[in-house]
Symmetry: C2
Subunit: 247 residues, 2 copies
DNA sequence: CGACCCTTTGAACCCGCTCAAAAATGGTGG
DNA sequence: CCACCATTTTTGAGCGGGTTCAAAGGGTCG
């Protein structure tokens, strides 16, 4: 039985979905009626682990998370960053076991939604099912953009590209504006996301700073020159499929 | 109105889907009744281009295709390889425009299925909708595996990993066995898929050959030492989610 | 205010790249 | 069936973007 608190809680999801497409009143209502269980995690804690079989999805309400894979010798690849409104493990609805882990980057609040209630929702509202499907497809589109960076872009370009992407993602859910946004990740995290070393990330970051493109301090990113940054990154926002808001 | 030929044609799709999960008789019948338009492409031809808006999906019947993104200065990143039974642009069902291109690697036959008829199918058979959704989720899981390679694996490991993956994918649809499979791609294609240069691919390939792990000749891959190859690649087949057949 | 994590700096090194050319392969037409 | 041409593979030598290892500064949070 969803409580009044639940209804507030899922508004993060509604805002996110509305950044992708319009919702009907019935759909909004159905989402608000989802029963959820909220939980608070400290920084750098695993929410789900590689190999786990879960019966629920994790909606981020506040904070940041990342998905990652671990290799031998402690090598780590971060696959994605997630912000409020995201459901990073939505794929779990149709894939039985996790092929990667999900962890917080900082103090983070999440809402767990059971697969059962999500399946009931998608069975009842096929348009909403299509929208959630679409969300996982955008997730995959972002993977493709990252792959392209990892395979074919220089260190500067990769960093610039990631900053463009995160800024727009955050802006779409109202968490960024005026060319500044939270960026609560360390240079080590950046390195593991971009396939580089922390030392090199640091040097490139200082380079971007000295070229007056960005500043990254106190876990806040300030984009000093949006146009030039996009140019360095060769950034084309189409892949984010944020149809409701222009880039 | 589907013809008798159509029914044969979609059997590639059925075989692929059954490599993922079991199909009911109704589902098989529904797939076989899909109206399709087949078309033959020569080698290295674009089927759909970055930016296109399409009203149909492309099912590969025979041959190989790849998805790729182009950057400035002719840089190319190959995002995935596709074999008979795959629908490489299934994401087009819910994403209006292509964020990458799709091209043949060799002489290839495809069947086009209209979004319209696919949407009718998924509306009528929710379980089949879930299965197609699941197929796109596996697609994304493969992206994650590639990202991990591009970001954190050495050249040897990346090549070994790709060969393990392609062998299992082909085996799942009956196109490989006995540790050999078709591999109709050039070293330049491998380079663009793995974020390396053709020259380096060549040197690493010769290294793997001299270590008696694989041979790649006449567009055929022979895996001489499956266990060792998997070890080099640090390969874990779980991400392919091929539940029906053991790896 | 102390401890720990994070960022910054330096110097040597190496994996994979670049450019160039030769050898092998394979598809095509005569 | 063979000769031809284009594409692909192979080889060589030098180079460079990013790494490695180590240690010194800075923030930040209990």
């Amino acid at each position: 039985m969803p409580s009044a608190l639940d209804r507030q809680v899922t508004s993060a999801l509604i805002r996110k979905l509305e950044s992708i497409t319009a919702l009907s009143e019935v759909e909004r209502e159905a989402i608000q009626s989802l029963p959820v269980r909220t939980q608070v995690f400290g920084a750098h804690q695993d929410i789900v682990r590689d190999g786990d079989t879960s019966s629920q999805c994790c909606l981020i309400l506040d904070g940041w998370a990342c998905r990652y894979k671990l290799l031998n010798q402690g090598k780590r690849q971060i696959l994605s960053f997630h912000v409020p409104g995201d459901i990073p493990d939505l794929q779990g609805l149709h894939l039985p076991s996790m092929d990667h882990s999900l962890a917080t980057m900082k103090h983070t609040t999440v809402a767990f939604i059971s697969h059962e209630s999500l399946r009931a929702l998608t069975a009842r509202l096929p348009d909403l099912a299509a929208l959630l499907w679409r969300d996982t497809l955008i997730d995959a589109a972002i993977f493709r953009a990252w792959m392209t960076g990892l395979g074919r872009r220089s260190a500067d370009e990769r960093i610039a590209h990631l900053f463009c992407e995160m800024y727009l993602k955050l802006q779409a859910v109202g968490l960024a504006g005026d060319y500044r946004c939270p960026m609560p990740i360390t240079q080590m995290d950046l390195a593991d996301a971009l396939g580089l070393t922390p030392v090199h990330i640091n040097r490139v970051l200082m380079g971007l700073r000295s070229r007056a493109l960005i500043t990254l301090r106190s876990r806040t990113l300030v984009i000093e020159a949006w146009e030039e940054l996009m140019e360095v990154a060769e950034f084309d926002p189409r892949y984010l499929h944020l149809d409701r808001r222009a880039a």
